[in-house]
Structures are given as C-alpha cells and as structure tokens.
Symmetry: C2
Subunit: 413 residues, 2 copies
Amino acid sequence: MHEFKYKNTQLYCENVLVGKLAKTFGTPLYVYSYHTLIGHYLKLKAAFSQINPLICYSVKANSNLSILKALITNGAGLDIVSGGELFRALKVGCPAKRIVYASVGKTEAEISTAIAKGILFFNVESLPELRSIDRIAGSLGKITRVAIRINPDVEVKTHKFITTGKITNKFGIDLNNAYKILLLRAKFKNVKICGLHIHIGSQITESAPFVSGIKKVSAFIKKLELKGIRLEYLNIGGGLGIIYDNETPQTAQVYADEIIPLLKSTGLKIIMEPGRFIAGNAGILITKVLYIKNTPKKKFIIVDAGMNDLIRPALYGAYHNILPLRKISKSEKADVVGPICESGDFLAKERMVANVKEGDYLAVMSTGAYGFSMSSNYNSRLRAAEVMVSEDKVQVIRKRETYADLIRNEFAK
Amino acid sequence: MHEFKYKNTQLYCENVLVGKLAKTFGTPLYVYSYHTLIGHYLKLKAAFSQINPLICYSVKANSNLSILKALITNGAGLDIVSGGELFRALKVGCPAKRIVYASVGKTEAEISTAIAKGILFFNVESLPELRSIDRIAGSLGKITRVAIRINPDVEVKTHKFITTGKITNKFGIDLNNAYKILLLRAKFKNVKICGLHIHIGSQITESAPFVSGIKKVSAFIKKLELKGIRLEYLNIGGGLGIIYDNETPQTAQVYADEIIPLLKSTGLKIIMEPGRFIAGNAGILITKVLYIKNTPKKKFIIVDAGMNDLIRPALYGAYHNILPLRKISKSEKADVVGPICESGDFLAKERMVANVKEGDYLAVMSTGAYGFSMSSNYNSRLRAAEVMVSEDKVQVIRKRETYADLIRNEFAK
C-alpha cells in the first residue's frame, strides 16, 4: 500500500501532482510520501501491539535525516551499522537507548563513540569483536551491553547478496560457539550480554524462514535458561519483503500472528529492525525521457537517471515497476536505460512500457529503500535531489548536488 | 607493469613504503603511482608514434583532478561522458580541442555547455541525439562537430555489463542507419559530421575483436568515400584489457602492430580513448584487517574497505589480487569481506590469502580504474582518501570525507 496514485490520468504523491515536482525540482528526483512511510511503521507497530516491541528502523535502507526524524518522532528506534549512521541518528535527536548497532566490521573508533554515547546495545558478530568491545569498554571505564548475533543457518529464497543467515555467510556466530561464549561470559568483564540477535536476510516474502529462525533461537534461549543464563532482549532483525512486481508477501498482521506466540514464549523484550518494509514503497524515482532510440533489434527509452542513482537492477537484477506520470493507453516492449557508459546501466529490460515521448517523465516505483542510499557519483554525475510530500506540503530534504560538490575534497596538483 | 613492488618484505609504491602511507593517512586509502600512470600513457603513445593519435584518457575510469592534470600535462586529451566530467576537464585546464564527448544520454544543458566551450566533437549515439545537437547548436548560432558512433555488432569476451559493440546494446548506430544519416547530412545545418567512433567494450584482452571492428568501419569509410563523403577523424575508442589475475592481454605494441596498417589505410586522424589501460594498474586500495573470524565452514578476513569503496567484485564478479603490505610466507583459504551488511560485500572469495593478523594491512591491487570513481556512501560510510606517489613525494589528492560531508545537502525537517 502506498500513496502514489493516479487521479484521472496524472500521478500524484498524496495530494501533490508528481509532474509538477519534476518540473520544479528537476530530475532525477526522489519523491517520498510521508504518510506511506509512517503508515508502514504504524502498521507494524499495530500488528505487534500485544508485545510492544522496540521497532528500530534500519538506517541503511534510507538514511536521509528527514526520514529518520519522521520515524523517531513517531516512536521508532534506529538500527545502525556504522559510525556515520550513529552520527546521523544523534543528529536527529534519537535517544541513545533506542539505538542498536550491527556490523561485522565495527572499528575501534566506532565502538568507542557508540559506548561513550550509551547506545542500547551492540549486535556482536564474532568472538574477536566481542573481545574488542570488552577491551575498549574497559579502557573507557564502562560496562557496555551486547546481544550476540546468532547465525541460525536458515535457507532463504532471496538474492544471494542479501541472504545473511546461512552458516557460509560472514554474519553472526553459530549456535555451538555462541553457547560457549555465553558459558564463558564472566570472562568479558566490561560487557554484559543482554540478548540475542538474528537477521536472516532481506526482501523475504514468506514467513516460514522467520518462523524457523525464531524457533531455533527460542530453543537456544531455553537451553541457556537451563544453565541459569537469563537474557533481556531478543532482536529478531528485519528482512520483511515488499511488493516490487507480483510478489505476495505476508502482511504485517499475518507475520505478527505467526510469530507472536513464539516470541511471547521467550519472555524477552522484542526488538525488530525493518528497513525496506518501512521505506521501500514510500519512495519513487522520477526521471525524464531524453531520447527514444529505435534500433534494428530493440527500442530503447533513454532516461536521465542511471545506475549511479539506482543500482538495484544492475547489482541484484531487481525489478522496479516503471510508470508514466501521465497515463498513456498504449505500451510497447522496450529497454529503459540510463546515460551511463556501460551496458549494466539499465532500469528495465524487455519490458512493456508506456509509449512515452521525449520530454515525458517516468516514475521508477518502490525505490524508497536502497535507492538514494546506494547512489554514487559514477560518471561524475550529481546525486539526485530528494523531496518529502505530506498531504499538500512539499519539502526539499536533500538538495541536488552541484559540480562544486564533486571536487570539494580534491586537489589538482 | 607497475611500480608497486616488494623491497625485502615490504610493499613500496615507487620509493615510498605503503605501510607508512596507511598509518599516516588511515584506511581505506587509494594509493596511485604517478610513474605507472604516465608510463602507461607514454607506452601507448610510443606504440602508436607512427600515426600520432590523440590519446583521450577516459575520465570515467578515474576522474580525480590530479590524475587528469598529470595526463593532460603530458599531452593527453580527455574522453568525457557527462557535464560533470566536462567541468573536471576544464577545471584542470584541458584545452577544449582535446575533449571528445560520448554518452547515450546527453542532456540539453550538457550539450549546450559543451558547444559553448568548443570541444573537439561529440560522439553521437542516435538520430534523436543528432537532431538535438543540431537544434541546440542552431539556437546558439554555432556549427558544432560530431562523430557518428557506429555499433559494429562485434562479439567480445568480457563481462556482459561492459560489452558495448553488439547490436542489442544501447550504444551507437547500426551501419545501415549510419549510412542513411551520412547521406542526409546536409539536413543537419548546424552540425558538421567530421568522423566515426567505435567502442566495442571494456577489459578486452585479445586483438581479434578490435581488428574485426576496425575492418568493418574501414570498409564503411570506403563506402562513404565512393559517395564523396570525406571524414577527418576515426575514433577507435578504448577497451584495452589489463592484468588483474592471470590474463595475458596483448601489449600496447602488439595491439599497435596489428591495427596501425588498418588505421593508416583510412587516411584519417586517429583518436583513442583508453581508461583502464592507463589507470587500472596505477592504483591500489589499502585496507586494514579488523577481525579474523573463523566459522565452522570458513575463515573470514574482515577488513575496513567495503563494496562502497570498491564495487567491482560484487557488480562484475571482478578479480583483484590481494597482497599483504608485509610479506608473509604462509597463506590460507579465506573470504576477504568488508563491514557492509550484505553478503555481496566481499573483495575475494575462497582465495588463498596471506596469513594476516588483526591490525595488518592488505593491498587490493589494480584498483586505479573504476575503483574510487564508482564509490558511494552506502551504509553512511565516508569515501576514502586518495594519495599520489611520485618517487619519494607523496601528495593527498583527495581528502577523506568527514561526517559533515555526509549530510551537507540534507535537512532534518
């Protein structure tokens, strides 16, 4: 569900004509719907209201300050993965006790700052990392809290780059080793192990792997309890899939109904880390048609957004629906491609696309997550502007870059 | 050939100890060798000295201002693909008459600026683009020059994302349609068609497809001459492969010997657009080992450089050699992975890697091209610093980003 809809023949974001945004702010342009964003957060919150989890939005999905601020104002916490994301979280006033920090490669400086700021806990990915955190906390004279990230070795149907709960992945600690660490927890004098964390992957559309992962971790919690080890938190990660094409992902309510009984039985406070589920369908990328190129073999719709703006099609083979801002009855098979000088620069291949003309605009749907946050300056292209729409109100939440930005840190020596 | 070599057990860039650069400037860090960079340019120039081509370095490979300045000071021109690259070219004082401009998606503003600045010519990729250039030149009261990019429909063994000379690609114009355009050239009153352009792909290690492409275009030039159409330039593009692993690409000399006779017979002034060939082996990415993680199935070497710093392994399945800065006799099979929260974030998989310890440094070799230029702030990570080494001299050519840079254009509304 999202608030990008045609009224008569024109695409609107909430009450605002998207075509007007394109003309006012130029393209490529990311447009977000405030009510879609917050709506998804509230839907998840409502589905889980019985157990009142702390919903920590996964900053990496879309880290724009205004997106973060909107969510924390509505009660969300934040799931961060770097010092840069911690900086953003604090910048928008997120209470430190609503921040959890995951990453297999936390640096000494990052750990140190996060301890000093008093985040809720670290999700710890390896024994060497646990040792580092213990040592750094000791040197700061603090006791810091951690959750052990368990790798539950669960099979998930998603792109191989975003499955994270298999034992051959770099993430988490296998159950045997996690058990040993917990038995030896007294060795880590400056660390309190307060919970467990699992995160099995991203864009998962069925509940079976979640259930399977949670069952494994529940059994593990019972095993720990038999040893007198009581925890406080279970962090069940994110990974909830959304609709890009014709997927039929479980709704928040179905997901909740399936796992709440399991979660309740642990007796632990629950933390969730949704990113794509909240932001994915809350954003679209607007691009202008530069040229219609008919070749002997194919029709190419050449647009002004490239793989530097949205890398998901090239990197993950991801599907994004592409709609004209002004409804057109006829469509034709075409490749929608960007201006970048490589064949990997495409938004759609061999797709029925509305019969647009040069100068028309297209909306690349469901690009609110892993869109702008993965964008680059490849081909010395300026990163797009971002605007947030709430009912009739439009706010620029990130200015388009300028050529001066490109070379800001460079020297011609 | 490059100037990153072990002296005793330590890796040097020219006369500078790379380990010292890592300590001084921090990691991840791109380190370039000035003499390797210029050496490759001069090698190509020497190989083709008989026909004295204009060698236009392909800016997209590595667009750092200091890299561009070093090359143009040594006589190179520049091959650009965007307004941002034009800005960079002019910033370092590249004479406009040494700039050629290719891209399937040039915008009106970009075309207009390039005409106003008086670049040598546009490589035109489609009939609608030719019409646009004609119209814009007319509105500026100028006659501008273009080369028609021919799609020669040549098969090339390289990654599908970087093959560009097949008829199913978005690039160039097929021979039949190019012929029609040239016959009708008088219709484009503000454009002088002064040449042809071909570019069949990237990282091509054998000369056969180049020879095949040039033969096709040579025959086409003869056909045009029969119609009284005389051109001035033949732009043969880039695409020369380099050694990443165990490739044995043709040397500049072998390549030159194969194609010079063909080029001479055209009687045209030759332009070349090498990028990777010049910059690829002239740069390395230095990264620090954060954690050694042994799991039941695998050893992971977790480093502080991620797919945001170097996306080639994830995007193209690219191979980069990984060497310790301090030689270590023993090695072990491992995955070298970054700190980013997805399984696609790796630098090497199942590779024999030196037995490094936490705190040691690794060099990811041959990352001078399509390394920094494709980097992003994904996971709110700061983009790396870049340094240039020339003999004993070290210059920072791009400062490491700061957290303030991350949010410079954002607003928390």
